[in-house]
């Protein structure tokens, strides 16, 4: 298997960054990590995961869709779409890597979202296998193996070297482009690391969380559950869970009048918000209970119902650590599965 020594990782980053934009997870002053555009001297984060997910690269929080220019009483529509430049996102975890399968189902099925597709076409996802999962991790619940991540290229570290395997054509092209820096390596130690990680996975508090009680066919029993009232009563209706979630994909389209024209843009929206999908007649979900229910029903029931059983959650655990009142999908699942 092709590998590079951990010490030489900076050389690799430099080599990639010379050809295209490279994003790597790096530590901030407050200890959290986030993706940043690679610049010389930037260090790869040792954290398990970034605060915001890799979703942002393909589906940014705000994005211009079109411009309107107004000259006197005439309006002109300007298509501002441009071919994106190639870029690489390095160090994506298995959970986030899976989120693209979910996002693709939304944005790349007909009608195709050209803005999203443009970035997907030009972005190469390089994943990194996990070695130190946290208590909030439950990717295995959704059949994700953190030691065998997906993505255009998968990477593993055994502490000394980083190993590379291309999963797609785009991934192969990426590996080829840096093959000069790579060498063949022995995977014995890597296999040990993987085994150790798998063992830890089995010991995690959420190891036994199951999706058995959920899926497209469980609609009415969950929708009508009396548990929602209790579960949602402390929900603040903020959008934290939505905005840190790698799979949430709802957005709102708005016009901004700059004074010289209109910018039509989209921005993330949250089904937890009271003004979500507010229309002329008002809101479709009037209470926080309904809004709360919507979010979890979508992840656990509606999405699998429309997508051959694929769940809308990848178990990254971000919502678990970021919810201001510590309400989260795991608590919901556990509450609902009890008959």
């Amino acid at each position: 298997m092709l590998k590079i020594s951990v010490e030489k990782i900076d050389e690799l980053f430099k080599a990639i960054a010379e050809k295209q934009t490279l994003y790597i997870p790096t530590d901030r002053e407050d200890g959290a990590s986030e993706y940043k555009k690679y610049e010389d001297g930037m260090k790869l984060s040792g954290n398990l995961n970034t605060l915001r997910s890799a979703k942002d690269f393909f589906f940014p929080q705000t994005e211009n869709l079109a411009d309107f220019k107004m000259e006197g009483k005439k309006i002109e529509v300007i298509d501002i779409r441009e071919e994106a430049e190639d870029f690489v996102v390095f160090g994506v975890r298995a959970c986030d890597a899976r989120s693209f399968t979910i996002l693709d189902k939304v944005f790349l099925s007909d009608p195709v979202d050209s803005y999203y597709k443009n970035r997907r076409d030009h972005g190469t996802i390089v994943t990194m296998a996990c070695t130190k999962p946290a208590e909030t991790c439950f990717c295995q619940t959704f059949g994700i193996d953190p030691t065998e991540p997906e993505g255009d290229v998968a990477c593993w570290s055994d502490g000394e070297s980083i190993f590379f395997k291309a999963n797609t054509e785009k991934g192969q092209a990426f590996v080829d482009s840096v093959s000069g820096l790579l060498e063949d390596g022995d995977t014995t130690k890597l296999d040990e690391t993987k085994a150790k990680t798998k063992e830890i996975m089995g010991k995690l508090p959420l190891a036994n969380l199951s999706t058995e009680a959920f899926g497209g066919d469980k609609l009415m029993e969950h929708f009508k559950s009396e548990k929602w009232a209790e579960l949602s009563e402390s929900c603040l209706g903020c959008g934290t869970c939505t905005f840190v979630c790698p799979t949430c994909q709802c957005y709102d389209i708005k016009d901004f009048n700059t004074g010289n024209g209109i910018k039509r843009f989209r921005c993330w929206d949250s089904c937890m918000y009271s003004d979500f999908t507010k229309m002329a007649h008002g809101n479709i979900r009037n209470s926080q209970l309904e809004r709360f229910r919507q979010r979890f029903m979508h992840k656990l029931v509606y999405f699998p119902s429309n997508n051959n059983g694929e769940f809308g959650c990848v178990g990254c655990g971000r919502c678990m650590s970021k919810c201001p009142i510590s309400m989260n999908i795991v608590k919901v699942m556990k509450a609902l599965e009890v008959k």
């Binding site: 901004f256 700059t258 004074g259 010289n260 910018k263």
Partner: protein
Amino acid sequence: MQVNDNKEFQPLIVAFCCNWCSYAGADLSGTNRLNYPTNVKIIRVPCSCRVNPMFILRAFQRGADGVILCGCHPGDCHYTSGNYFTRRRMTLLFSMLDFLGIERDRTRVEWVSAAEGAKFAATMNEFTEAVKKLGPNRRLEDLRCRKQ
């Protein structure tokens, strides 16, 4: 904000003037033909206390380089107390803007009575100069609104 390569920087100044004192003072500087720069554009409000911090931020967002609030002298408010509230609100708001690193000379409160046409013109001249020195507002503008 207008920038022209050949010309010096011409700041855009938004002046909120209360109807009873400062707007009348501005009228008086017109009646007395006292010049002040065209950079200053006046918005009439019934009282300085009508000016919401949102209006001031909005002006900066849209490319104003300075915002000045003019009202009756303390004690002379047509509505008896409006400018006292203005004074507290704007002190705190400007202090906050300063705290966020927005240049403090971009904001100002000035009391101009209906009889002070000369003061109005002098204040506007002074303020425009001060803002001119600061250059364009870059710290509190919305890039989407910047003129091409």
